[in-house]
């Protein structure tokens, strides 16, 4: 948008349009009976280059300050603002309104499978509990080397895809197995385990495979590919899960 300010005469006119947001809202229990979720609609004027997050900002700043959602970086880096937009998990800050057919109301819900705290904010604790369980840190044995732990470009390439995860929970909360009882580790935990299992510098691979070789571990994956489709970082989540499965099978036989 700065570019249009710099050269106002040359820039093509970006259209503005009205867009309706249909947002699933929820107020926490205030002691006066069980709270019920409900739908709220807001119509805001949006610019052709606006994202869903900009529209949400407009609602919060100009129409209803009580609308609650998470966001930090607003540029697809922090993973705060995963939400269910028109039935698909996406980052509000990476989804352009014009890509969503703004002639119809845009439906925005909190991600599924995690307890809703307020409006679009969910309790991420079960998600992070699974993440912590796979020990997302480098595990080594022996003496500390006096210099860096070296790795070739090919060794780095082996797990490059899974280093991109921003822990937004879009994948885990798109998984039908996770929706049922939330016991399944979930794709994100497996992706982050994959990042260390296939790291040549790490020596905790066997431990991590042991942890994921659980009744609620990788074997609950049904290969529905919802996670791969949901990942805003383009990580091939299902493929990573299958690679972990394969590592377990070659270890067992």
């Amino acid at each position: 948008m700065t570019a249009t300010l710099d050269a106002p005469s040359a820039a093509p006119v970006i259209p503005s349009f009205d867009v309706t947001l249909k947002i699933r809202r929820f107020l926490p229990d205030d002691g006066a009976g069980a709270p019920e979720p409900y739908w709220d609609e807001f119509t805001v004027r949006a610019h052709g280059t606006d994202r869903v997050l900009d529209a949400l900002h407009k609602v919060k700043w100009e129409e209803d300050g009580s609308l609650t959602f998470r966001r930090s970086c607003a540029h697809g880096v922090c993973g705060s603002d995963a939400m269910r937009i028109n039935g698909r998990n996406r980052l509000a800050c990476k989804t352009l309104l014009k890509d969503l057919d703004p002639s119809k109301p845009i439906i925005i819900e909190p991600i599924k499978g995690l307890p809703v705290i307020k409006d679009l904010v969910v309790d991420m604790e079960p998600f992070f509990a699974s993440y912590r369980e796979i020990m997302p840190f480098l595990i080594t044995t022996g003496n500390e080397p006096t210099k860096e732990r070296l790795q070739s470009a090919e060794q780095r390439e082996r797990f490059d895809d899974t280093t991109k995860c921003i822990l937004c929970a879009a994948c885990t909360s798109s998984c039908p197995v996770f929706w049922t009882d939330g016991q399944y580790f979930g794709p994100a935990a497996i992706v982050n385990a994959h990042r260390f299992i296939f790291d040549s510098r790490d020596e905790g691979g066997a431990q991590r495979l042991e942890i994921l070789n659980d009744k609620e571990g990788v074997w609950r994956c049904r290969t529905t590919f919802n996670c791969t489709e949901a990942c805003p970082r383009g990580i091939e989540v299902t493929k990573a899960i299958q690679e972990v499965k394969r590592a377990m099978i070659t270890r067992a036989f």
Partner: protein, 153 residues
């Protein structure tokens, strides 16, 4: 104004009693079994369909005598026994995972699994019994319904 708890407030760690005790290779073997039995079943089932419905006189040949003739040979006994057991374990395990995936309430899950395992036992026991105790030439039956080798004895 409603007050909600500070999200950063210390929370008691979620009790996950089942987690630590559910590690092990059981699900791994189950997963491998599904793939292996699936491949074998494709051969067994299509072989079965071909022999019963296409080969020779085809579908019009199927009657008591045809089935009795097949089960007089140990080859087809083992073929059908394998098919029965693999298909039943494969199918039961598949339905078990579906129940795990979709039944949310513990009671429902327990009831569904109990009836599933009961059905498994009944079908497998009955089927195995029939394959091994089957008499191709029951005494006092009309000869035209029986396989040809019954009359030669």
């Amino acid at each position: 104004m409603t007050t909600i708890a500070d999200p950063k407030a210390p929370r008691p760690p979620k009790p996950r009693p089942a987690r630590l005790t559910t590690r092990g290779n059981t699900e791994l073997y189950g997963w491998v079994f599904m793939r292996a039995s699936g491949v074998i079943l494709v051969v067994l089932i299509f072989g079965h369909l071909f022999v019963n419905l296409v080969a020779g006189e085809g579908i019009s040949a199927i009657d008591f005598g045809f089935v009795a003739g097949k089960w007089a040979s140990p080859f087809w006994q083992i073929w059908d026994l394998l098919m029965l057991w693999l298909a039943m374990i494969h199918g039961t395990n598949g339905v078990r995972t579906i129940i795990n995936d979709y039944a949310e309430r513990d009671g429902v899950r327990l009831a569904l699994k109990a009836s599933l395992y009961l059905a498994f036992v009944v079908v497998v026991v009955l089927g195995t019994l029939v394959i091994f105790t089957f008499d191709p030439c029951p005494a006092g039956s009309p000869a035209d319904l029986l396989p040809s080798f019954c009359t030669t004895a």
